[in-house]
Symmetry: C2
Subunit: 132 residues, 2 copies
DNA sequence: CCGTATCCAATTCGATACTG
DNA sequence: CAGTATCGAATTGGATACGG
């Protein structure tokens, strides 16, 4: 696969374009949480609101609509006296689940390491760059 | 740890918190592209700029700094007459690569499906919600 | 080559209040 | 219960110009 004088850029550009397209919809701060929450099965609006738990109604609705629009979520309205709406993943979205949980797993494994890296970076930055 | 009457929310909340923490740093529109670009090996600033290709200098720098701060990127300055800076992944970041390429793969497989879902949704939305 | 600083436009987000 | 509407604050992002 290696060309004579391969530019790194060349290999990447082909992947970067679809990436940005998807990432625009998937990489939102809340999107992944929603997709994971909905993966367990049909989940109601209020359940999501409680599950994600830092999200406002507005943002939840917005993200839900966007994911539905992109064909990742199915919105089912049950015509009942207390309104009942359930969200579930489309088959397409289910395929994402593995990568998503991979991300979550990584997050859990390295959360503290990231925090430490941050602290170290900030400490170093706080030192006078001058030869004190 | 087993709950008799498990709420969907309960299972999710434990995952959602670290998720949002990571996603804040990883889920940026450009972050993933950068991480994938740097995965091939040490890559220079200008190469990244060309590879990602829709990004401005400012955004590239910002994302680079954030990723470095969180311990995902290593920034190496080669003291040369024309300045040379290379970015590479930390071991921690390399573990992310699988999930990331999973995301990219999914994107490539379903890009058109997503586009169609969008078009369909927009078309449906354009119809009068009234009983036409 | 590798950035940083500044300005300004667009977007996002949260709080709040209201509806079927 | 499941949203929508509106507003102002905060964040993000591009363009440009400049510095080591």
């Amino acid at each position: 696969m290696s060309r004579s004088h391969t530019h790194v850029a060349d290999a990447v550009r082909d992947e970067a374009c679809p990436v940005t397209e998807v990432l625009d919809r998937v990489a939102g701060k809340w999107s992944i949480g929603i997709l994971i929450a909905a993966a367990h099965g049909p989940v109601r609006f209020t359940e999501l609101e409680r599950a994600i738990n830092g999200i406002s109604r507005r943002m939840l609705t917005l993200n839900l609509r966007r994911l539905e629009r992109d064909g990742l979520l199915i919105r089912t309205v049950h015509p009942a006296v207390p309104p009942k709406v359930e969200y579930s993943l489309t088959p397409m979205a289910r395929e994402l689940h593995t990568s998503l949980t991979g991300l979550v797993g990584w997050a859990e494994r390295h959360r503290s390491a990231v925090a430490e890296a941050r602290a170290a970076y900030d400490t170093a930055a706080k030192q006078k760059p001058d030869t004190d």
